[in-house]
Symmetry: C2
Subunit: 261 residues, 2 copies
């Protein structure tokens, strides 16, 4: 078994990846600029290496087109795919989080307490957006000051001088997510040991996709919080270091590389 | 009707005063130092002017003795009363609040958030002490940092840069208490207009007692918070100014003055 196959086997472990979601990761990692296209052939070769049947890829591409994520065009006898404006926007939103090297500063973070007697409909609804605020108690939310709606009904206190107790940290990164980080850390450490020294363009693309995919499936499930807000034993920051390290070793191939391949 | 009688009538309005509680106020205002005594005769004359029957005074003195607030001793044919160590301590605790001219600074104030999933027994119990913390929501309390119990289970955020929303201010000074301040403000304003120019020692003692009593019955029912934490229309600070102004005009009589009287 080659070093590449070993790394591939390791990164294929863990949770089953849904095909359409993997394809989104492929486009997000390789073709996130306006005008970028990936040929049907390249997509087929990449997903084949991930053990995905061509029929499953067709279904995924059909779904992504129906949902407005991608479009396709025919060039001679072949077809190529590219992200729509919506797809580009969605990818751009996730990119800083996925590839970012640092966590936000605690100075910008706040605790928002809503009215005790409120019916939890009006005031609270604004904070139930999991991309902006995480609920700590029935009437308390944690988030960034910039995402605070303009209202005088909220009690807002700063978190920059605050040490979060364990139960609050566990609301931000719940135990099951913490466990996912622990598993990912083991997987990434193993992948690091198996990494091929001179991977081809397609090999780099495949390994990067699996790497980014495992990573984004966890981090996008909780707020991007300051490092001090993670549970004490959480491997999130350690995972980020490993992911960035591995991505650096697997240089992103230019799309042109695949045409030759 | 003399100016004194008018002022007396005004200050006797409002809620009915319980006799034993009034007697506590008398001692707290006039005899709060170790060794201070008030004769039965003086107590009788003061309370008589407040419309209290001698039998009611006897019952009150009996109760206060039984509860450990006061003691008495016989001097020749007369009897005099004085605060016990416990009574002195209780009075001393309330004194800074009753006669204080300023509110605490917001820098020392915190919001305490308790665990969402806690059973509200262990963590919260510590904050249900109304002298230290006021409950804002099911899991949030407001109080001074100095009163925080030593535990790592609490989420503590500072309130010095915080503008409290109305609902939080109304938890600190509930509407009914706010109404009491409004009523007291009217009563104090009226009393100020009717104040005698040269009251006797006993007149000063009686008016001071009624004044302090009306005041402490309200302020001791909520936390001594920074001025910015009161509801916007609250007359608490205005009442304090009036109380202190009136007390300054009614110089505290020395206990010796009554012996001559």
């Amino acid at each position: 078994m080659s070093s590449y196959e070993q790394a591939l086997e390791i990164l294929m472990q863990g949770d089953r990846h849904r095909v359409w979601s993997l394809v989104v990761t492929i486009f997000g990692d390789l073709a996130q600029n306006q005008g970028d296209e990936i040929s049907a052939q390249t997509l087929g070769r990449m997903t084949e290496q991930m053990g995905i049947k061509s029929q499953a890829l067709r279904v995924a591409l059909h779904r992504l087109r129906k949902d407005g994520w991608i479009e396709s065009k025919r060039i001679g006898r072949s077809r190529s795919y590219f992200l729509t404006a919506f797809g580009l926007q969605q990818s751009a939103l996730a990119t800083p989080r996925i590839y970012g090297q640092t966590s936000p500063q605690s100075i910008d973070w706040i605790l928002v307490t809503t009215e005790a007697t409120s019916d939890n409909q009006s005031d609270s609804a604004a904070h139930d957006d999991p991309h902006s605020f995480v609920r700590l108690t029935a009437h308390s939310y944690l988030g960034k000051r910039a995402n605070l709606p303009e209202t005088q009904h909220l009690l807002v206190t700063g978190l920059s001088d605050t040490t979060l107790p364990d139960w609050a940290k566990n609301q931000i990164v719940p135990p099951e997510l913490n466990q996912s980080y622990a598993s990912l850390f083991i997987l990434l450490s193993a992948a690091k040991g198996a990494l091929p020294t001179k991977p081809t363009a397609i090999e780099r693309a495949v390994l990067r996709t699996l790497l980014v995919h495992s990573w984004r499936r966890i981090i996008l499930r909780h707020l991007d919080v300051p490092e001090g807000f993670y549970p004490q034993d959480c491997k999130a920051i350690a995972c980020r270091s490993l992911v960035l390290d591995l991505l650096a070793r697997l240089e992103r191939p230019a799309l042109a590389d695949f045409i030759d391949a």
